[in-house]
Amino acid sequence: MQPTFSSSRILLPVRPWFIFFSLIAAALLNFLPTAHWPGVPDWVALVLCFWCVREFRRVGMGWAFVLGLLMDVADGAVLGQHCFAYVLLAYTATALSRRILWFPLIQQALQIMPLLLGAQIFQALMRLAVGADFPGWGYFIGPFVATLLWIPATFILLLPQYRPVEQDPNRPI
């Protein structure tokens, strides 16, 4: 696989433990006490979306559901709120994955934005429908920040798969 389909650089196959590790690290980032600042992105949603686009055969709605349950318990939210949003996010990201990788990174980020924003809006709608109070517009800044982070996230999460540019002809891999 390549970083984008139009690039000629070929990546190493992904290591399953790295996917697992990155999702756990994202959950840890979510647990940090920064959550009450406006504009802090939902790291799990971002990383989950990334792997659903890149590796839809390994990471899909099952992972999304389990991570959603974890986040629900960790947040003290109603069970099922994150599950719903993440499962929907994983499905749409998987559906997009064959098309989205043809674009350069900035356009990829623009296509990811509605998914992340949708996940946030669905959570807000679910809670408002059952009578929670409105969390303020700062709650909806997070997805936009996450959109900007799509570009650095792609670089960081693909790092273990890059091969050196200059290759030793005696050791082709």
């Binding site: 696989m1 390549q2 389909f5 070929i10 196959p13 959950a27 840890l28 979510n30 647990f31 940090l32 006490p33 959550a35 009450h36 055969r57 899909g60 709605m61 099952g62 999304a64 559901f65 959603g68 349950l69 974890l70 318990v73 960790a74 947040d75 003290g76 939210a77 109603v78 069970l79 099922g80 709120q81 599950c83 719903f84 499962v87 929907l88 499905y91 998987t94 559906a95 990788l101 807000a124 679910m126 809670r127 408002l128 059952v130 009578g131 929670a132 109070d133 409105f134 969390p135 303020g136 709650y139």
Partner: protein
């Protein structure tokens, strides 16, 4: 392009169609959403997941608490001395009241015995440290560091040095979740100190409280202090809850809109005390067997029926 992966794509073993999977997972999510919200029967699932998540969350909180610790260390001697002075001063100012409290309590007890009134319950509890505020932006909750291991059960009230903070709503093995009184639709039965009028305050979700269902001509002033009335069997009577800051009297509505701010440092504190559950109240008389807040209408209807039967 996907063929460039080292493992070939599975041609025959595909599993269920994505749309079927999506429907399945969404159905489960919505089902547990409704069950958790309305039936509250998933606490065991929540507790078992919390057993895994809780240690990780504590680890994630350590950088923040380390920064706090460093800040308080740098704050240093002078700050501590000043704080110490202030504390001594405030102790001295409250000393006359406190010293007479024991005598007053015993006197009160004796008088109540003379009058054959039930004795007041004593307030006991355990001090807990607040670990962090729950991340859910739709509600106002905090997590404290004592749980089932310390014998805490859901429903116990929590106070700080100034007044009522909230109520324990969920208990985990090593932690508990306290819903603040400013959480939306968190209700505390109160009494106005000045006039003795009883009512209930509702949280508004924005850090304020609202005293609802008070008639527009009720005897309420800005600055009135509300204390718990103790009619609910949960909160002991007499704990300060809120102070009235704004009254909107609009003749278009039959009720005044009365806004209050909490007296306790509800949104900023380090330690709270969780009070022991109250002794069981005597059983309610059979006519108004519903909840005290919601039984208004049936009671009225019953009265009407009684009146009608008397007329007959």
């Amino acid at each position: 392009m996907a063929g460039l992966n080292h493992a070939p794509p599975p041609f025959f073993k595909r599993g269920p169609a994505p749309l079927a999977l999506l429907t399945f997972y969404i159905a489960i999510s919505l089902a547990i959403f409704v069950v958790d919200l309305r039936l509250k029967s998933l606490e065991l699932l929540r507790q078992s997941i919390a057993l895994v998540v809780d240690p990780v969350q504590r680890v994630a909180q350590t950088p923040g608490s380390l920064v706090d610790y460093a800040a308080s260390y740098i704050h240093g001697m002078r700050g501590l001395q000043q704080e110490n002075m202030e504390l001594k001063h405030s102790q001295l100012t409250t000393a006359p009241n406190l010293q007479r409290l024991a005598q007053l309590e015993s006197e009160n007890e004796r008088l109540r015995k003379l009058l054959a009134v039930k004795e007041r319950e004593k307030a006991n509890g355990q001090v807990t440290q607040i670990m962090y505020t729950a991340r859910d932006p739709f509600s106002r909750k905090i997590i404290v560091d004592k749980g089932q291991q310390a014998g805490i059960i859901a429903g116990q009230p929590a106070i700080d040095e100034a007044g009522v903070v909230g109520q324990v709503t969920r208990v985990f093995p090593f932690s508990a979740e306290i819903t603040l009184i400013t959480d939306k639709d968190q209700v505390v039965p109160v009494q106005v100190v000045r006039s003795g009028q009883r009512s209930v305050v509702f949280g508004l979700g924005n850090g304020q409280l609202e005293l609802r269902y008070m008639p527009a001509n009720a005897d309420i002033q800005v600055g009135d202090v509300l204390v718990t009335s103790g009619l609910d069997g949960i909160y002991l009577p007499g704990f300060p809850v809120a102070k009235i800051v704004n009254i909107e009297r609009d003749s278009a509505y039959s009720f005044a809109r009365i806004f209050c701010t909490p007296i306790a440092g509800v949104e900023n504190f380090g330690e709270v005390m969780i009070l022991d559950p109250r002794l069981a109240l005597p059983p309610a008389p059979p006519v108004s067997s519903g909840r005290p807040g919601s039984s208004d209408k049936p009671a009225l209807r019953n009265k009407k029926k009684k009146l009608a039967s008397k007329e007959n």
